[in-house]
Amino acid sequence: MAIRIHKTDYLALVAQAQDGLPQEVCGLIAGQRQGDDQSGDLIIEKIYPLTNVDASPEHFSLEPREQLAAVKDMRARGLRPLGNYHSHPATPARPSAEDIRLALDPAATYLILSLAGAAPVLKAFHIESGQVREEVLTVDEYL
């Protein structure tokens, strides 16, 4: 099973993260699972950039009213909530201790975009009961 994101959405994430420097940026991802069984790829069909109410280079929290509006929009569009994303302006694309502690939804995919290096790095993680597993993530021209 892989997480697939369209190149346009990937570039939008990178632009949001770069525009938001030095703060972390965040948002939600929504889409569908390909096929009928649980092994199908997860296709990200829409990203929802949300305000980081922490306005911090080291922390993020989604703005609740925007989160509510995004969830309703997903439902109206027939999209499934897939998880969230946030940026790491100066650290690698791996969950911090706080990311792991606050990963409350084992069904979610957690995307982390690092701007620490010369080029952006986007990775996807499954986090459950404190255990982190990196998932296969592809950036596709066509979905």
Partner: protein, 68 residues
């Protein structure tokens, strides 16, 4: 009475409070959940005293946050 929970209509007895609904819906880690009632967020301290009414729309939102 009918309530709309996360977009789905469900039947619950009259007099149900937000606290009881959280239990009935088996909301996991409720300490990290915000509740919106008809698009207004309910303070967690008011969960036990907020009585739901026919047609109310309720959403449970998990806190999402972290740090780099």
């Amino acid at each position: 009475m009918n309530l709309v929970i996360a977009g789905q209509t469900k039947e619950y007895p009259e007099g149900l409070t937000v606290s009881r609904l959280i239990e009935a819906e088996k909301v996991a880690t409720p300490q990290y959940v915000s509740v919106s009632l008809n698009d207004e967020f309910v303070k967690s301290g008011d969960f036990g005293s907020t009585v739901l009414r026919e047609g109310d729309s309720v959403e449970f939102l998990y806190f999402m946050g972290g740090g780099g």
